[in-house]
Symmetry: C2
């Protein structure tokens, strides 16, 4: 399959397409396979995830950081991200692996994703790898923010604004849809001082507000 | 002890001296200790060593690269580098650790060195960490070149020059010292085309030549 779409999905364009091709070649396909790139990419990923959680979670101690990183770089997480990218569609596999469904095997997909990170590191350097991994891990890391702090998005947003002497956000219901027992709310979150306007939806007004707050929080933190 | 000398030894000057101080503070000394930095530095070191051996040893497979990296980032290697830097002289330890000789304990020194790498990464970025680690690991990595390729320095130098269409080096005995049964040879290695002149010494002419060749090889590869 044309790898242009994959490059679009990861938000990175290779200067050396041969590196991308190598990252997508499973050992079963023959020479020029991705095992060495996987070794490199695994290290790059570990380092970038470590740097990111070190920065995000100032209160966590070494042991907690180690556990957190392990959860982020394990096969299950990599497999999930690989699926979101439809990485299996681009893999080159040997015949045996093709027939036995190698395209969907979690270990093959996770390894190929690591190899892809290694290829980006070689092609574009540390910064490029950091940007791509930051994007692909964004949702997962934001989910951790909430869990790690034990605070919901509305609280985190409000505290963030307070610390910067900005007035609290305004929430307003934009629309409600559906019958009384299965309503869906759409809510907007406004921070005029920062030109932020986000929306969220959910089965309750509160749930919709939390989603809008999360999106606003993601914007103002950038 | 004044950390200027340590900065000189590692060839890096901190923009944020507080990071250096933290890297040198053992947990036993109290708050602001180096455990989180150690977590970060360990990841940075792993990544940089992986990138370096990936580049140096093109023929090695994933499993061999993993073993090689493990040998480079293990406590013993870190301890040795920490000793060369006299890192123990700069550590801040609690009273108990001070009394029981914590300054020389391999685990404390290795951890502090990793923390130092983490601090450099935060202070100066990936590139700065790469340069410092490259310098500190230089001798170790050059030793690996020989082992990994199975070739001695004279052969490696000659092949290197041949590939660049440069005439082979000339070796000449400069001096011999000592009685017949315990002579020491000093040999020079000359590559006029590259303005290289190095010397080596050893108990045999061959050993002295190999040392001179290694030094010449280190120079021409830069």
């Amino acid at each position: 399959m044309d790898s242009d779409r994959l490059e679009e999905a990861i938000g990175y364009h290779f200067a050396q397409p041969a590196l991308l091709a190598q990252a997508l070649t499973h050992r079963s396909h023959g020479v020029g396979h991705n095992e060495r790139l996987e070794f490199l990419g695994d290290s790059v990923l570990n380092c970038l995830v470590a740097a990111e959680i070190f920065r995000r979670f100032e209160a966590l101690r070494e042991g907690e950081l180690s556990r957190l990183r392990a959860s982020l770089v394990r096969q299950e997480t990599l497999h999930q991200i690989a699926q979101e990218l439809a990485l299996g569609d681009y893999l080159l596999l040997g015949e045996g692996e093709l027939k036995s469904g190698g395209h969907t095997r979690p270990s093959i997909l996770a390894d190929a994703l690591e190899a892809l990170f290694g290829a980006i590191f070689l092609d574009g350097g540390f910064q490029a790898a950091q940007e791509v991994i930051g994007r692909l891990y964004g949702a997962t890391l934001r989910g951790l923010d909430t869990k790690a702090t034990g605070k919901d998005p509305k609280t985190m947003l409000q505290e963030f604004l307070q610390a910067r002497h900005t007035p609290p956000p305004k929430y307003a219901v934009v629309t409600t849809r559906g019958a009384a027992h299965s309503q869906e709310f759409e809510v907007e979150c406004l921070i005029p001082e920062l030109s932020v306007r986000t929306t969220g939806s959910g089965a309750s007004r509160r749930a919709a507000e939390q989603e809008a707050a999360q999106r606003a929080y993601d914007q103002v933190r950038k």
